[in-house]
């Protein structure tokens, strides 16, 4: 055996074996990612891990508290649902995440790369600064030259490595003949480095190695803040998307991915589940909740040959649906075309930072060129003129500007994230600050789409008990709401026997030999009301109507009141029936409302408002709002919205409450104010420092002082945003 093992290259033997082992593990391993939104402490970590490890077939489980996720390695026959129900039993809320939709490793690598560059430039900056102190305090001749040479040896490689992101971005802008903020930055860093090297060789007095390095360091810090904000938002958005694992149950009970479904396949949809595909009902009878697609709060009847669309929710009976379109082809995805068209208008928005850069970048170049030409004419000394031009370029360089925006957005989005709001788009805060009109959708946004019994007091007492007993036998949302209302009012259920659910119609039973029925108006042969209602018939008595209103979403009234207090116009546009919309508008205090809006009509109304000079904030959740969301100046959707809707929104409300809306607009206004203040501070520094530099009095010490002071003031000013959270 040992004879075989001995070979000229032991690695050649080991490598294939290792590869094989890794490959084998790939095949056997099933990796789940669970979202654990409620964990917060050390006990939760060990509790969750212990609970997961206890499950048969689980090999390893590791909780990440920062991301509130758990990674599970398990055998193939382990079902996620078992793990989730085990965790729920142990008291930890858990959801499955689609592991493929989470690409944390890729973004982590980018973040680590920026951190490494910051570390290198920080290390070099501190060393060169220390050496420079000796020069500033009067080292001369050979000592100064030696210190300059050592500084050069540290600074030049550090710049070459750490400033690469700026060079790359500046180059790609110059290649298409544009100027961005990175062009003056790169020019300043390169010129400062080159000029200082030349001065060192000629044993001159001034070297700007420290300035070039601190410029790199501060600007990289700004970049990192910017990156952090975006990656936090992105990973939370990915998590929202990953929560919807796209699966369908076939008629024979096997579970497949939506992507594997073919046209003509039969899919079973159980009560309470979302219809995963477009199709035609071939078996069963039920009711469908179409509120996410059309905004109607009233469920519609579904039977054989009813056409169903992806995104509808099946309410009462099981349905078997023949697939006509799945995945990319389904109506959910086709909506994307409408969105793409509306979105182009919004992409025209230029952020404050870009607008500042458009003015700033040419000004900096021209000023420094003017300084060079002016001093050339006055003195005719090329080296001295070039020195002054470089000093001007370094002092005017947008160090504070590079920090001004990221520091503020990081502070503001961190604050909004804590109050349950996720910012997906980089310019969303600035756009939100300009808003003067707010358009709300009704079903699912202002209301939870959850019915609430409104007329229990008008129901004869004996009917209440009968209705409660019948409602207990059904999972229909109206039944559940009726049962809940009756229980809260202390009603005792009547002794109804033989309770049986008739799919798509209602519930029936027997009371003292009399037939009793609770269900649709048509089933009881009575006239239907104009609003959501269910009907009860006891024997031959006249049917009694139980009317329902939509349950208002938590914080909806507060949000509307806060927005009105801020002087914004509030409009309600809904696809629902006028009676239901009027009722909600009255309860919540909105005067301007419109009912029975088609998706196109909503988008049109938003576009009209925009044309008349309004800046519209659209808040909506349904597929029927998607086009309007994309057409608005800025858009917000709740986490319960469809994925397609969340994708087009600039911000997502993570919690159930709408209350953060009022705060969000305020934070946006003060964030924009801080950004402008920061620009002003930076300009003020330049106003003082530029004349000094132009006059030729700027030393490396002055440059270092001006740069650090303005960067620190700007960062501190941004931090004031977070401070007023705690109040």
């Amino acid at each position: 055996m040992s004879e075989v093992q001995i070979s000229a290259c032991p690695a050649c033997v080991a490598a294939p074996a290792a590869e094989e082992a890794a490959h084998a593990r790939d095949v056997r391993d099933t990796r789940f990612v669970l979202s654990l939104p409620a964990i917060y402490c050390a006990a939760c970590i060990s509790g969750v891990e212990r609970e997961l490890i206890k499950q048969p077939g689980v090999r390893a489980a590791r909780v990440n508290l920062t991301l509130k996720r758990a990674q599970v390695d398990a055998d193939e026959d382990v079902s996620v649902d078992d793990l989730i129900s085990a965790l729920t039993r142990a008291g930890y809320e858990a959801y499955e995440l689609d592991a493929g939709a989470i690409s944390a490793t890729e973004t982590d690598r980018k973040g680590r790369a920026i951190l490494t560059r910051i570390a290198v430039s920080g290390f070099a900056m501190m060393n060169v600064m220390l050496l420079s102190i000796a020069v500033w305090s009067g080292a001369s001749d050979v000592t100064r030259d030696m210190f300059h040479w050592i500084s050069a040896a540290i600074a030049l490689p550090a710049i070459a490595y750490a400033a690469q992101p700026f060079f790359g971005s500046a180059w790609s802008a110059l290649r298409v003949k544009r100027l961005n903020m990175d062009v003056p930055i790169s020019l300043a860093i390169l010129l400062a480095g080159g000029m200082s090297l030349f001065e060192t060789m000629e044993s001159g007095h001034h070297a700007y190695f420290d300035a070039a390095l601190s410029l790199t360091f501060f600007l990289l810090a700004g970049r990192y803040l910017d990156y952090r904000t975006r990656s936090v938002a992105r990973s939370a958005a990915e998590e929202l998307a990953a929560l919807e694992v796209p699966r369908a149950t076939l008629a024979d009970g096997t579970v497949v991915s939506i992507a594997d479904l073919a046209k003509g396949a039969l899919v079973r949809v159980v009560p309470g589940a979302r219809v995963p595909v477009d199709g035609i009902v071939v078996e069963g009878a039920s009711e469908l909740d179409r509120s996410l697609l059309t905004g109607e709060s009233l469920p519609v009847e579904a039977g054989v040959d009813t056409i169903v669309s992806a995104g509808e929710v099946n309410l009462t009976g099981p349905l078997v649906v023949k697939v006509t379109a799945a995945g990319e082809d389904s109506s959910l995805h086709r909506m994307a075309d409408l969105v793409a068209m509306a979105e182009t208008s919004r992409n025209k928005y230029t952020s404050l930072a870009d607008r500042a850069a458009q003015v700033y970048a040419p000004a900096v170049h021209l000023l420094s060129l003017a300084a060079f030409i002016g001093w050339m004419i006055a003195t005719g000394d090329v080296r001295h003129s070039l020195n002054i031009a470089v000093a001007v370029l370094i002092i005017t360089c947008p160090c504070a500007l590079g920090l001004a925006v990221p520091a503020v957005t990081t502070a503001a989005s961190g604050r909004l994230f804590r109050s349950g709001m996720l910012i997906k788009s980089a310019t969303a805060l600035e756009r939100l600050a300009e808003v003067d009109t707010v358009v709300f959708d009704k079903t699912g946004t202002l209301t939870e789409g959850r019915p609430e019994l409104s007329n229990l007091a008008d129901i004869p007492p004996h009917a209440r008990g009968v209705a409660m007993a019948l409602a207990a036998g059904s999972a229909h949302p109206l039944s559940a709401a009726l049962y809940e209302a009756a229980r809260a009012a202390g009603v005792e259920p009547a002794p109804v026997s033989d309770i049986r659910e008739v799919p798509g119609q209602g519930v029936e039973g027997r009371l003292d030999g009399m037939p009793v029925r609770l269900g649709r108006a048509a089933w009881l042969e009575t006239q239907a009301l104009a609003q959501t209602a269910t009907y009860l018939k006891i024997g031959d008595e006249t049917p009694v109507a139980f009317a329902f209103v939509d349950h208002l979403r938590e914080g909806a009234s507060e949000a509307v009141a806060a927005l009105k207090r801020q002087g914004k116009d509030v409009v309600l546009l809904s696809g629902d029936a006028p009676a239901a919309v009027a009722d909600i508008a009255r309860r919540i205090g909105i005067d301007a409302w419109d009912a029975e809006c088609l998706p196109e009509a909503k988008a049109l109304r938003v576009a009209e408002l925009t044309r008349s000079g309004r800046k519209v904030l659209m808040v909506g959740d349904g597929l029927n709002d998607t086009a309007a969301l994309a057409a608005a100046h800025v858009s917000i959707s709740p986490a319960s919205a469809l994925e397609a809707t969340r994708v087009v929104s600039d911000m997502v409300l993570l919690g159930k409450s709408l209350a953060p809306l009022g705060e969000a607009t305020q934070v946006a206004v003060s964030a924009t104010k801080r950004i402008k203040e920061n620009f002003n501070i930076a300009t003020l520094y330049n106003l003082i420092a530029v004349p000094i530099a132009l006059a030729g009095f700027a030393t490396p010490l002055a440059a270092a002082l001006a740069m650090s002071a303005s960067s620190i003031t700007v960062s501190l000013n941004a931090l004031r945003l977070t401070r007023f959270t705690k109040r």
Partner: protein, 52 residues
């Protein structure tokens, strides 16, 4: 002033040591779950499945 011949290399070397340490901490993914690590150290039980 001759002491600078020793002091400058020494100070740069020590600074470089810190830099290498920082690189190592990034490489070994010590910033992946700062909150979790801060809490794990408080649990009484031994972590049987430390991060690979």
């Amino acid at each position: 002033m001759n002491v600078l011949v020793y002091l400058i290399p020494i100070s740069i070397f020590l600074g470089g040591l810190g830099l290498v340490g920082f690189f190592w901490s990034i490489r070994s993914r010590q910033y992946d779950d700062p909150e979790g690590d801060a809490n794990r150290i408080l649990t009484g039980e031994y972590d049987d499945h430390p991060k690979p």
